[in-house]
Each structure stands twice: as structure tokens, then as C-alpha cells.
């Protein structure tokens, strides 16, 4: 998955897209980073990514998505409840921030994003360039 994320970032950087990261996902990333580094990591991330905040409209959309899930995603296809909860919040924050596409390799996240009216492509299966940047291939 790390390799596929690298390919995606490589492509998005090449095509000069505006790239958003949800504040909820940012919280998940920070769990693996020492507390004393949180500030510098967030500052660096903010220089490069737009942060899609979980604000008041996002909370309303998350509630609507949460209400729609039982009719649209079979119980056996749903992740653990606390994980589903954060997935819904990530999607809602992205949608409210006017994102059109949400990249994910998780089928349940893809379904939630589609429920919110976004395209949800999978992570790329290979580099988009014949000679990719070695830094993104590890």
C-alpha cells in the first residue's frame, strides 16, 4: 500500500492537483509520530496539503451519511464501528471541502464516498511514468 500511495502522490504532484487531507486522517497519522514532533509535522503538512476540516457542515453531512449506511452498505461489508465512524467523518470533511475525488483502497470507504457524491478511485496499481522517481518507490 505504501508503494501505491507513493505512486499516487507522484502522479498528483506531476499533475499539480490540489490535494486535501482530512483533519481526521491527520489525527490517525499523528498516532505514529512522537508528541514533540506533532507541531512540526502538521506545519510541514500544511505547507503542502489543504486540510479538510471536520467543521459544522461536515458534522451534518456525516450524520446524514451515517443514517444512509444501513440501506446502502451490507453489514458484512462494513468495518468495525469505530473505524466506520472515522471513515464517515473523513468522507464528510472531504466533501464539504469541495473535493471531487477521494482515493482509497478500502471498498467500504469507497462506498461512503460514492454515497456522498464523490468519485472514489482505487490507489494506482503502478507508476504513471516509465522512469518513476525512486523516492516514491520504496
Amino acid at each position: 500500500m505504501q508503494k501505491r500511495c507513493g505512486w499516487l502522490l507522484d502522479r498528483l504532484a506531476d499533475e499539480a492537483h490540489k490535494v486535501f487531507i482530512s483533519s481526521i486522517a491527520l489525527g490517525e497519522i499523528l498516532t505514529g509520530i512522537r508528541r514533540e514532533n506533532h507541531g512540526s509535522f502538521v506545519a510541514e503538512l500544511q505547507r503542502r496539503f489543504h486540510i479538510a476540516e471536520f467543521d459544522i457542515p461536515a458534522s451534518s453531512l456525516a450524520a446524514r451519511l451515517w443514517q444512509d449506511i444501513p440501506q446502502n452498505i451490507a453489514k458484512e461489508d462494513r468495518p468495525e464501528r469505530r473505524c466506520l465512524h472515522s471513515d464517515v467523518m473523513i468522507v464528510a470533511a472531504a466533501k464539504v471541502a469541495t473535493c471531487r475525488q477521494l482515493y482509497t483502497h478500502e471498498p467500504s470507504v469507497r462506498k461512503i464516498a460514492e454515497l456522498a457524491g464523490m468519485e472514489a478511485p482505487d490507489l494506482p496499481k503502478g507508476p504513471h511514468r516509465l522512469f518513476p522517481d525512486p523516492a516514491t518507490q520504496s
Binding site: T31, I33, R48, H50, C83, V109, T136
Partner: protein, 271 residues
């Protein structure tokens, strides 16, 4: 050349209050009020008005014009070729009575704010009605009408908006015209300080992220007001540079975690 025939009165705007006579209403207040009524009568924000100033006059086809003034109170008789003017003004009255019925007609808010402010300054109420004695009242605006409406209809909170800076500046207050996805018209944002205005000026026609205080319509979550507190301009840069920078900023702490997927599963749950 034959003089054009006087058109019929479409509606009347009455300023009612103690000692309110046409000659006592300052021209500036009158102009602001009638311009606001015109915007309500025309009844929509057309994309072609995008390039005009906020609250600019509609095109000639939608104009309303002053026919005459009846001095008894201060009643301004208005003519207009706009076929839906009376209906639009009636809908304005309906929104004042039932704020949740606003729907996507947020163009009503600006003119109502203006009319409320004029009514307050004159200590009067502004009545928009069908012509003649006993004409049906379409909308009544008092000094507190906008405050009452906004209390019931609007929600404020901090957020970040993303858009392209298309205008910065203003004669009376600094504003920024921001072009945002999924909106046909620019959003005019408040810019509280000169330094933010200068920063936005440097980003003219560029995409920015602005953090600040938003005002949303509670029924549609449409942003109708925004006060910019900070401006940023994230740039992804090259993938190599980005990965190196994030690793150096603490991202490499993840290297010390043996099984990141198991760690995440433990922390945020199993996907």
C-alpha cells in the same frame, strides 16, 4: 417625438413612521433602500452579474423605476417590466414570516439587511405593497427584521474555504472576492486587516485556502458570509521533496513501529 405612455404602478414602497416625509428622507438612505428593493424585485442572482460589484444593479430588462412620490406619508410608486417582481417581493415577505422557506434564494439576505438598516436609521418601517389604498402588503421590513431573520436562519462557525482570489480591496471596507467551487457567484469575504488584504492582493488570480468565520444558511449549508482570519497557499511540490520533508518533520517516527497496519488497527479499529 411622442412621449412614452406612463407605465402602470407595479408596487409601492412606503416609509412609515412618525414625521417621515419624502423631503426628510436623506437621498443616500432612499437610494440604498430602493436599490435593495430593486434587487429583491428582480429576484435572482444571474451569473452574468458575477463581474459586477456585489449588489450592483441588474441589467436594464430587470430594472425598476420610480414613477412618483405620494407625500401623505412617503410612498414611492414603482414601475417595472420584470414580470415576477410582485411575486418575488411577496416571497420576500414569506421568508420574513417563515425564515426556513428561504431555500436557495439567499440573494434575499443582502437587500433585507440593507432595508433593515435604512428602516432603523429612519426609525420607520418599510412597507412594500401592491398599489392603491388597501393594496395587499407584500413585505414589511422593520429595523430588527434582518436580525430576527438571521437569528433563526444563520449559523456561524470557523472553517477553511478554498478558492481563487479574484478581487481585493474596497472603498469603505476591505473585501475579497473569492471564486469557490460549486457556486455560480463570487463570495465576497470580509478582510479585517490591511496586512491580510495586502497578502491577498499578492495572491490575485491564484488559489488559496482561507481560514475564518463562516456564516451558513442552516437549511442548505450554503456560505453567505465569511471573515478571513488567515491565508495560506499549500503547494504539494515534487513527490520526492514532499516525502523527504515530511520524514524530516517527524514522519520517520513511523519507521520505529514494527507493523504499522497492526498499530493502526489497534488505534483506530479494523477496516
Amino acid at each position: 417625438m411622442k412621449k412614452p405612455k406612463k407605465p402602470p404602478t407595479a408596487f409601492e414602497v412606503e416609509f412609515r413612521g412618525p414625521g417621515v416625509y419624502p423631503e426628510l428622507i436623506p437621498l443616500g438612505a432612499l437610494s440604498r433602500a430602493l436599490t435593495a428593493v430593486q434587487r429583491l424585485a428582480v429576484g435572482h442572482d444571474t451569473p452574468q452579474n458575477d463581474d459586477d460589484e456585489e449588489g450592483s444593479e441588474p441589467s436594464v430588462g430587470g430594472n425598476v423605476g420610480l414613477l412618483q412620490v405620494i407625500r401623505g406619508s412617503a410612498i414611492y410608486q414603482i414601475a417595472t417590466p420584470a414580470p415576477l417582481a410582485v411575486q418575488n417581493l411577496r416571497e420576500t415577505g414569506d421568508v420574513l414570516k417563515e425564515p426556513d422557506s428561504l431555500g436557495d434564494r439567499d440573494y434575499i439576505l443582502g437587500p433585507l439587511d440593507e432595508l433593515s438598516s435604512v428602516a432603523k436609521s429612519l426609525s420607520a418601517i418599510i412597507i412594500i405593497k401592491q398599489p392603491g389604498r388597501g393594496g395587499v402588503v407584500l413585505a414589511t421590513i422593520a429595523g430588527n427584521s434582518y436580525a430576527n431573520l438571521s437569528e433563526k436562519l444563520l449559523i456561524t462557525g470557523n472553517t477553511t474555504l478554498f478558492g481563487r482570489v479574484e478581487r481585493v480591496g474596497g472603498a469603505t471596507a476591505n473585501k475579497c472576492g473569492l471564486r469557490i467551487a460549486n457556486r455560480s457567484r463570487m463570495l465576497f469575504c470580509e478582510v479585517p486587516t490591511q496586512s491580510i488584504a495586502r497578502l491577498l492582493g499578492e495572491k490575485l488570480y491564484e488559489d488559496v485556502a482561507v481560514r475564518g468565520l463562516a456564516t451558513w444558511i442552516k437549511t442548505t449549508w450554503r456560505v453567505v458570509g465569511f471573515k478571513i482570519h488567515t491565508v495560506s497557499q499549500p503547494r504539494l511540490g515534487s513527490a520526492r521533496e514532499m516525502i523527504d520533508a515530511l520524514r524530516n518533520a517527524g514522519g520517520s517516527d513511523w519507521d520505529k513501529i514494527d507493523d504499522p497496519e497492526a498499530f493502526l488497527k489497534e488505534t483506530v479499529g479494523a477496516r
